[in-house]
């Protein structure tokens, strides 16, 4: 049972990491708190629904296309919604992204209705046994894809010139622009990556959990838990935090209570904020 829950936790954790990396990047590089991040995840789920279930595209192609489509949509959001508030107080980023959240969630509700939709899960019949745990291949794909995408991001940030430019911007935006880095391009690219990864999370989880307009709200909150746990702006922290929260939720739900299962991430959040607000991996400012 324990091992089973650990495996479930890892799968959940992989998805949480994917979603949280984008959130922490937009905070670290653009200095915004994006409360619409959960709806971007939701859009990824809906894109997956349309591509793979309604139009019948092959499964993996649908994942890739969802990621790219919503990543590009993210650029639109960045230019229209976030650009106006970069110079102002931080509170404005929270408020304006909340407006985007309300708009997107209800827009989807109007366009496609409130009912939950089932997404085609072609690999859910294949069951894999690892020691005492058994999982469907469909779920394993989530974990494998997460690891691949995270690995890809790691290579991108550390070995590609533009990736290193992103890292530089997160440390010192003015310094970066002084050495010729185009901050506008960096912001656009960062937000595209952030949206793309969140959409990937939504696309990968959609076959497991259905899609519905408000499917992004709980993942948003959990993503914030992960981001705070890992240190806001810290990508490795988001990865480690994502897996930690996934495992904690899985084990907590199994061993303590499944009704209040959703409360555990928030309890962790509050504990972290009170004891060590800079997170496990963040730097203390005092």
């Amino acid at each position: 049972m324990f091992f089973q829950q650990m495996v479930n936790g890892l799968i959940l954790g992989g998805a949480y990491s994917l979603i949280s990396i984008g959130l922490t990047m937009s905070f670290g590089i653009m200095k915004i708190s994006n409360f619409a991040h959960g709806t971007i995840y939701m859009l990824g789920g809906y894109a997956m629904y349309f591509l793979s279930t309604v139009y019948g595209f092959p499964f993996f192609l649908s994942i890739a296309l969802s990621m790219c489509a919503i990543g590009l949509l993210g650029i639109v959001f960045e230019r229209i919604v976030f650009k106006p508030i970069y110079e102002g107080p931080h509170l404005n980023s929270i408020l304006i992204s909340t407006g985007l959240l309300i708009f997107l969630e209800n827009g989807v509700l109007q366009l496609f209705g409130a009912q939950t939709m089932k997404v085609r899960a072609p690999y859910s019949d294949v069951i894999i046994s690892i020691f005492s745990a058994s999982i469907t291949f469909q779920r394993l794909i989530v974990l494998i894809a997460s690891i691949l995408l995270i690995g890809g991001l790691f290579l991108f940030l550390n070995y590609l010139r533009i990736g290193k430019a992103i890292v530089a911007t997160s440390q010192n935006a003015r310094g970066a622009s002084l050495v010729g880095i185009d901050i506008t391009r960096i912001y656009i690219l960062t937000f595209a990556i952030s949206s793309g990864l969140a959409a990937a999370g939504g696309a990968l989880l959609a076959p497991l959990f259905y899609v519905y307009p408000t499917m992004g709200s709980i993942p948003l909150l959990k993503a914030f838990v992960v981001v705070v746990l890992g240190g806001m702006g810290n990508v490795q922290g988001a990865i480690a935090g994502g897996f930690l929260v996934g495992i904690a939720e899985s084990l907590g739900g199994a061993y303590i209570s499944s009704d209040y299962k959703n409360a555990f991430p928030f309890i962790i959040l509050i504990a972290v904020l009170l004891i060590r607000p800079q997170g496990l991996f963040g730097r203390s400012t005092k």
Binding site: P84, E105, S217, L221, A263
Partner: protein, 322 residues
């Protein structure tokens, strides 16, 4: 505007507010005004912690829930009448405000908002799942209306109907607007504004930012307890679905559009968001999308809200030496 002109304008509004239910006797419109008042009171509470002190409290709806459930349980399970249940709700919510605020307000800006987001979600989960106490998703029914105040000679002021409730709410609203007005003039209000504007400078003139934030938070929580209690005794039925994070976002939109940190902003915001959809039934389906767009537009172009914008345009810029 000269002083006496201001008095004429506010005087007429007050007179209109007092005579409204006598002139407009259709209970439907009275009901709308009651809802406007309920929301207004909660937005004034929001204004205190978020508008004036600058700390975004995302557990807003959750606190209203605490007030509502306290009042409801006191009324249904302990047969308390409104006049006992309501102060109890205010006190209990205030205590929660202190318990949640004391640890959370030591953290910086966005971390505090996230902590309150977490608390708001936990409160909702508790409302939904603690069935023996809150009734779970089915909520609590059979809450009594506020009992009347007996007058000498067999008369009584009744608060049962829409009209009675209108005057009850209006009285509270008058008090809360006066409270906000005097808050601006008081030492506490000036400290709260200072915290919003510049935390470091605030400390260096001797103001404890933690103490100020906690006081603002508890004050706000108490007013939210009042809102919850009024809500429970008006609708006579409560359920968790009213006290969710999206509801908080809706209230936030009202505060932003009306004008954060202003005196009349909360009332204006509540009125716009509550009354307008009633009169624009055709867009009712799309109203939430409109809220989203409106919120985004305001933050991008008019973050000070309508009242804030008006205040800036009419501010005096000449010397006192006239």
């Amino acid at each position: 505007m000269k002083a006496y002109q201001k008095y004429i304008v506010s005087g007429s509004f007050i007179a209109a507010a007092i005579t409204f239910p006598l002139v407009v006797t259709d209970p439907y419109f009275q009901h709308i005004m009651n809802v406007v008042f309920l929301y207004s009171i909660s937005i004034y509470a929001f204004n205190i912690i978020t508008g004036i002190t600058g700390q975004l409290n995302l557990a807003h709806a959750g606190f209203i829930g605490i007030g509502a459930y306290t009042s409801a349980i006191a009324s249904v399970n302990f047969s308390m009448n409104f006049w006992l249940a309501m102060p109890l709700a205010i006190a209990v919510t205030g205590v929660f405000g202190f318990l949640i605020g004391f640890p959370s307000l030591r953290t910086k800006g966005v971390y505090f908002s996230l902590a309150t987001l977490g608390f708001g979600e936990i409160l909702f989960i508790v409302f939904e799942n603690w069935i023996p106490v809150t009734g779970g998703p089915m909520g609590i029914t059979g809450i009594t209306a506020p009992s009347g105040i007996p007058l000498p000679g067999d008369l009584a002021i009744s608060f049962g109907g829409k009209k009675g409730f209108y005057y009850l709410c209006l009285t509270f609203l008058f008090f809360i607007i006066y409270l906000t007005k005097q808050l601006f003039r008081s030492r506490l209000g000036q400290a709260m504004t200072a915290v919003r504007e510049n935390e470091s400078l605030t400390q260096s003139v001797g103001i404890s930012i933690v103490k100020t934030k906690i006081t603002a938070f508890v004050l706000s929580a108490m007013l939210l307890g009042l809102t919850g209690s009024l809500f429970a005794h008006y609708f006579r039925f409560i359920s968790p679905v009213t006290f969710t994070v999206p509801e908080t976002f809706r209230c936030l939109s009202m505060l932003v559009v009306g004008g954060m940190g202003t005196l009349m902003g909360p009332l204006l915001g509540a009125a716009i968001f509550t009354a307008l959809p009633e009169f624009l039934r055709s867009i009712e389906e799309y109203q939430w999308m409109v809220y989203g767009i409106v919120l985004m537009l305001f933050i991008a172009f008019m973050p000070e809200g309508i009242v804030g914008f008006i205040n800036e345009k009419t501010a005096k810029h000449h010397s006192r030496r006239q």
